[in-house]
Amino acid sequence: MAGIEIKNVTKKYGKDLIVIEGLNLTIRDGEFFCLLGPSGCGKSTTLRMIAGLEEISGGTVKIGERIVNDIPPEGRNIAMVFETYALYPHLSVYENIAFCLKIRKIPSSEIRRKVERVAAILEMEDFLSSKVSNLGDGQKQRVSVCRALVRDPEVFLMDEPISHLDATLRAQMRAEIKRLQRKNGATYVYVTHDQVEAMALADRIAIMKNGVIQQIGTPTEVFTAPANKFVGGFIGEPPMNFWECKIERDNGELYLISPIGSLAISPQAKKAIEKIDVPGGVLVGVRPTDIRVFAEDAGINAHRAKIDIIEPRGDNLILNAKIGDEIVTVDPPAQDLLGLNLHRGDTIWLRPEMDQIHFFDKSTETTLV
């Protein structure tokens, strides 16, 4: 087993195109680590440098106790799973999984034992003699995971291994990958652009943008305490509401003058805000889950809104409500909706939970409080 240490790593293409500069990242032994970000953020490049598929322009990558900069991919004791599974279509599932062991001249009885063991983990025992071309997409992906797994690597690298699958199959594979990691205890580095996938799978997540890590943390940390506006808006579905606000003082209290109306700043936030000089106002982020819904005026901080769109999801309900021209996304706690029979055009009152809101600097967009 092995952890991974990335120190001051730079990736350049040619002379001038720097895609990653001074990247530092420590992935612990046995950890499920996700690299998350939109396309072009450098997450795959980082993974490919760990794998040895991309040259490292500067800095060091360490797997376990070894610096691997100059070690070819096959010497790094890693296994990699890609979005496209690249199986041999004319071979059977068994032959595909056994392929890399045969090359290594491992006795066939041992190969059989190993293949059967990994096939059992992913419930592919019954398909070992099937031709790959006869399998469904989810099964093919499982074969490619088996093929990686059979080598017993210390580190698993996965690059969007399930992003092209249908949503339902994706959810199912997600659970299987997680189950697998919990059982074999290897270090997993998993690249994805899908925040739900990262949140569900990871012990820790690094969120990347333009080659720079924005934040590293557990799912709970990046959700409840985003480091900046980008992370706040990228994590969470539906995404955070952002409001540009002025701050006003009245009778010793601080108020946010927001597009949805005036909001009294909570005592905790007040202390922090008072310390920072924000004459131009702040950017406020409010999660849809942190807005309460009432059928009647609920007093301070509650503002009248009109329901524009109702998004039922079976086990919960998302509302888009209009206050003036501002559209607010709300994912209220279930108890708020009990007994309310909501329709489009209905009037409701929205009240942000003021101790849950996020403050960002308007120009740098980093978290203030």
């Binding site: 997409d137 959810a171 990228f234 079976g314």
Partner: protein
């Protein structure tokens, strides 16, 4: 009937049967979603309705008029696909105006007409400020809006959308979902929307038809699909995570009818018992329960318990993966519980929300 009616529709590509006797009623003005995995027949269905592909047998009616033999241009239908194929050298305005300038319609639209229609459509799509831009200056979501606009300038009666937002990023996807819903409401025309994404279908559709292997598995509104799935396929295809399903047998234990699965034994309600009697010779059942209909409880108080394999923290919800023997079960909770991986916990099933299916056929009982 107003809207779209489809009767016993078959579609074949050579030997391959893409649609096998599809029946469907889509009311005028509805946003009707076709939900299913790839290869289910969603696109084939849209294409036959649009008249781009011929039917093998069966009938398609629009507002009561038979469409078999009517050319696509005369069906008053617009269709939009996942890839938007805009003209890269034309501005947003010219891209949207293109259908009105087509030779066939050239004489029906004056320059002023075109300007009026395009601007009105752009306004609905919040693209008024971008009419002079070129496609390469637009984001993915904006390009898709231009494609929607181009289809809409013809003011069709029916709008067919084939996975229009499948390839967009999650954040834009959420936005576009809401926008398409708003658009549908403002235009007041029928939308038929195909998607493999259950969340899209459930959140957007007034009605949803779940398709698999060219056959409709169930048509209904969200509540019907979610609460009473017609079979195990629909149950396992909807919800995030989807419904938990366990195969079991029926047995009388001290006068109580119980479903015995590999992992636990569940006494069934009187109602379930009645339905089983009605269904006749059922020995094997598949028990289904949504992850939100299971709660966690004290170990010593619950006859059903399992080992916490993983916790998925998703913000508002947490999904707990629990292993009972070798079966993986998922529970979705909203409160931040103190549960930890590796722990043994008790489980409480909301028995009113239990679904029973015939194990052999997969069909719903009751």
């Amino acid at each position: 009937m107003q809207g779209i009616t489809i009767k016993n529709l078959w579609k074949k590509y050579g030997e391959v049967e893409a649609l096998k006797g599809v029946n469907l009623n889509c009311e005028k003005g509805d946003l009707f979603c076709l939900l299913g995995p790839s290869g289910a027949g969603k696109t084939s269905l849209l294409k036959t309705i649009g008249g781009i592909e011929e039917v093998f047998s069966g009938e398609i009616f629009i507002d009561g008029h038979p469409m078999n033999g009517v050319s696509p241009q005369d069906r008053d239908i617009a269709m939009i696909f996942e890839n938007y194929a805009l003209y890269p050298t034309l501005t947003v305005f010219d891209n949207m105006a293109a259908p009105l300038r087509a030779p066939k319609r050239r004489h029906s639209y004056s320059k002023a007409d075109i300007e009026r229609v395009v601007k009105k459509t752009a306004k609905v799509l919040s693209m008024e400020g971008m009419l002079d831009r070129f496609p390469k200056q637009l984001s993915g979501g904006q390009k898709q809006r231009v494609a929607l606009g181009r289809a809409l300038v013809r003011q069709p009666k029916i709008f067919l959308l084939d996975e229009p937002i499948s390839h967009l990023d999650a954040v834009i996807k959420h936005q576009m979902r809401t926008e398409i819903k708003r658009l549908h409401r403002e235009l007041g025309i029928t939308f038929l929307y195909a998607t493999p994404d259950q969340l899209e279908a459930l959140t957007m559709g007034d009605m949803i038809a779940v398709l698999k292997d060219g056959e409709i598995q169930q048509s209904g509104n969200l509540q019907q699909i979610f609460d009473s799935p017609a079979n195990t396929f629909v149950a396992a295809f909807t919800g995030d995570p989807p419904m938990n399903l366990f195969d079991g047998t029926l047995k009388d234990i001290n006068g109580d009818l119980c479903a015995i699965t590999e992992s636990f034994t569940l006494p069934l309600s009187k109602n379930a018992r009645k339905e089983l009697v009605k269904a006749g010779h059922v020995t094997g059942v598949t028990v289904g329960i949504r992850p939100t209909d299971i709660s966690t409880g004290l170990l010593e108080k619950c006859p059903i318990h399992g080992n916490v394999l993983f916790m998925e923290y998703l913000g508002k919800h947490t999904v707990i993966g629990i292993e009972i023997n070798s079966t993986l079960l998922k529970v979705k909770v909203t409160d931040k519980t103190g549960i930890e991986e590796g722990e043994n916990i008790g489980l409480i099933f909301n028995m009113d929300k239990l679904n029973l299916f015939d194990k052999k056929t997969g069909m719903r009982i009751g």
